[in-house]
Symmetry: C2
Subunit: 445 residues, 2 copies
């Protein structure tokens, strides 16, 4: 049997899968931060193009992917599904482990799947400039590339701690033609407010979102693009799970366990949602979201309405949250440093269709190094959460003597995160960063 | 038509192609540095296993690839051949441009093709430890990974200038379990000799080779592995050209121009040799090796016997050389900073079967940024030489109105070379580094 399961480019899915159409329960509407009433499309029109707002609220099961998007997907899709046979040997497990390798994209992660779509729909409605936030830089470099492809300007607020830890990501965004600022920055009211409280603030995704939304709302030619959390973002990512299901079929396999790391929910949802559909229809699948122990949104957060950003400019979203002012420690998995969660993922967790696990930083690097030595690919620190949980599930399968099929999303490679590996090799990650959970969550006034 | 031309894993070539079998002229034997006589297998046995020495001297056309090697190749092979259709659009050229993407390997370059083979043959003959040199680190990380797969120790002498410029490569080698030293180092006679002359020596591949060979020759459990230049290294790389030819056939194309960057000759030879065979048999193909203007071995070197290393420990090889004491400037394409060239490639150039071009550093980054903005992938500085020449050939095809098929080897991505791109974006590469050509070439005494 082949180790890598390729599909031809003719097999790239031609529609996004909208899980909302299949849920056996209704979703809670986002609320306007001023009125506390459900937001309307008009409320969002200042920062998003109408096509994306429609997708955000759509209940149509399949949304066709325009030809112009498919053409750019063809730069790197379909990504391979790879049997982690070398890792299996190392673990001596009867489990069969497969990973979907989204790191095969030019920027090294799954993020272009939605960046390309968002740039396309914005371009079509006349947007000249997109502004966004980024954590580790996977999202920022993806949007920078997508804007370049559609001839739009791109500005990225990059979380300060990652801006300093990952200078190569910044260079990458510059190569694609974007402007990059460290966040909090002195260029926005939101940034100045945070800097006044703490001039050495390491930043967070929540703060960077506040800055980007503020700039987009204030300029007619500019819209905002978000890399995760929202329904339309996860919708675009379902191309991952759709491909994975077909590739498993090609290999004659059925998934028993499906794993993705979780920050805002986009790589997890992208892989998991097509499997959640099967689960709703009766399939027995264990679907697991993995997050950092030091930013435990799903495992220790509260399910309630909260802001998506730190300052409180976004609509209120019903989601698992650590509180919008929670400041996660500066762990290397910058893409998972988010106080909230996708409302769709939150709803699945609430209803027991998925479960969540939290892992310590040192353990996920142990797993990542084992994986790299076996399979060659060095995982992104974010993806390393999925790797380590897959290893634990494979060890459990060995103890139980069960030949389970474990599938996880290797959402990115770690070649631009090597300082993290250097720190791990130097023994600097042994102490888990401490957190204080602040439970004050804003209510709609 | 598909943009990416995949083959199935069943189609991975099962033999290496040995160009020596098809050459219409004889090769010049390497000479013993002490006696000036052609070297014998016994002379090489201190640093290489017998299987590789046999391959070095073989005239057998096809050498079967052992199953154990194919199994590890399956981690990333076959690599895709990709139509650079977005670049074509940008250039408005009638040429059809294809690139073989060797950066798809886990370490990000073509180097594992020979690293895996060398580790395998060494392991089979009882070697416990491999020692090597590396420039930009592509070779060192490949050998580190290969040694990890076969349970051997690995030690890498990394050229000082790259050791400082590319700390992420060092971290990568550590993840794969290797030991990494900056070269020149105080741990060998060769290193101490160079440091006595210049305590701040930036190092060179020639010096690092001296250090590695010295250590291998002095320890019974240790052999030496070279990442380029020698016949057996290029032999292993021919898997690239064999796949490329099949993929072009699948696309219904015939190459008019074949391009590879040239340092020691391994990615160039790997792509080119199967096409050289066709050329010997009458096909009309323009085959071009591209090198840096500041290390112009093929375009300005002399064809004569010279040492492969700086100190003068290796056999004398008849090749194009800038003199074994030539110190190339610290350009970002660390993998191309070598005074010599593959004797096979040298012989092809001598007989007009290939030609060579030299390009300035700033131009190759201009080409690389244009390529990245079009195709997404950020090229390694080495591979950027091939990219820029492909662009020039495509522009020429436009001027001549010819729908040529241009094929080049994108031998690696540049994600671990982003400092180079930062320097380019900051305008720091506009001045071409100056060189002084020293023509004193050692003769066999």
């Amino acid at each position: 049997m082949s180790k890598m399961i390729f599909m031809t480019q003719a097999d790239i899915p031609r529609q996004y899968y909208n899980l909302a159409a299949d849920l056996p329960f209704s979703l809670d509407p986002p609320l306007h931060p001023g009125t506390g009433q459900p937001i309307t499309p008009a409320d969002l029109a200042a920062i998003f193009p109408m096509a994306l707002i429609e997708q955000e609220m759509s209940s149509q099961r399949e949304i066709p992917i325009p030809e112009e998007i498919l053409e750019i997907y063809a730069l790197y899709r379909p990504t391979p599904l790879i049997r982690a046979s070398e890792l299996e040997k190392l673990l001596g497990t009867p489990a069969r482990i497969y990973f979907k390798y989204e790191g095969a994209s030019p920027v090294g992660s799954h993020k272009p799947n939605t960046a390309i779509a968002q740039a396309y729909y914005n371009k079509k409605e006349g947007t000249k400039r997109l502004v966004t936030e980024t954590g580790a830089g996977q999202w920022g470099s993806s949007l920078a590339f997508a804007c370049q492809k559609f001839g739009m300007e791109c500005k990225v607020f990059m979380v300060r701690v990652s801006f300093d830890q990952k200078p190569y990501r910044k260079a990458m965004m510059m190569v694609y033609g974007a402007t990059v600022l460290a966040s909090p920055s002195p260029t926005t009211n939101a940034g100045r407010q945070i800097l006044a409280q703490d001039p050495h603030s390491p930043g967070s995704l929540g703060i960077a979102i506040s800055e980007a939304v503020e700039e987009a709302a204030g300029r007619d030619d500019t819209k905002y693009a978000l890399g995760s959390v929202l329904n339309h973002v996860l919708l675009h990512q379902t191309i991952i799970g759709q491909e994975t299901k077909r590739q498993l079929e090609m290999a004659g396999e059925k998934a028993d366990v499906v794993i993705g790391c979780h920050g805002g929910g986009s790589n997890f949802g992208g892989l998991a949602f097509p499997f959640v559909r099967d689960k709703i229809n009766g399939a027995k699948i264990d679907i697991v979201a993995v997050e950092p122990l030091s930013c435990p949104t799903l495992t220790r957060g509260k399910l309630e309405y909260d802001f998506g950003d730190t300052i409180g400019m976004t609509p209120l979203i019903r989601m698992y949250t650590l509180g919008h002012q929670f400041m996660p420690p500066g762990i290397h998995a910058g893409g998972l440093r988010y106080h909230g969660a996708s409302p769709l993922v939150s709803k699945l967790l609430e209803h027991g269709l998925i479960r969540a696990e939290a892992l310590p930083q040192n353990d996920i690097f142990k797993g990542a190094v084992m994986f790299a030595q076996a399979e060659g690919i060095i995982p992104a620190p974010e993806s390393a959460h999925a790797v380590e949980l897959a290893i634990r599930e494979a060890v459990k399968a060995k103890e139980e003597g069960k030949a389970k099929v474990i599938v996880f999303n290797l959402s990115g490679h770690g070649l631009l995160d090597m300082q993290a590996y250097q720190d791990f090799c130097d023994g600097k990650l042994e102490q888990e960063p401490e957190i204080t959970l602040d439970r004050s969550v804003a209510k709609a006034s």
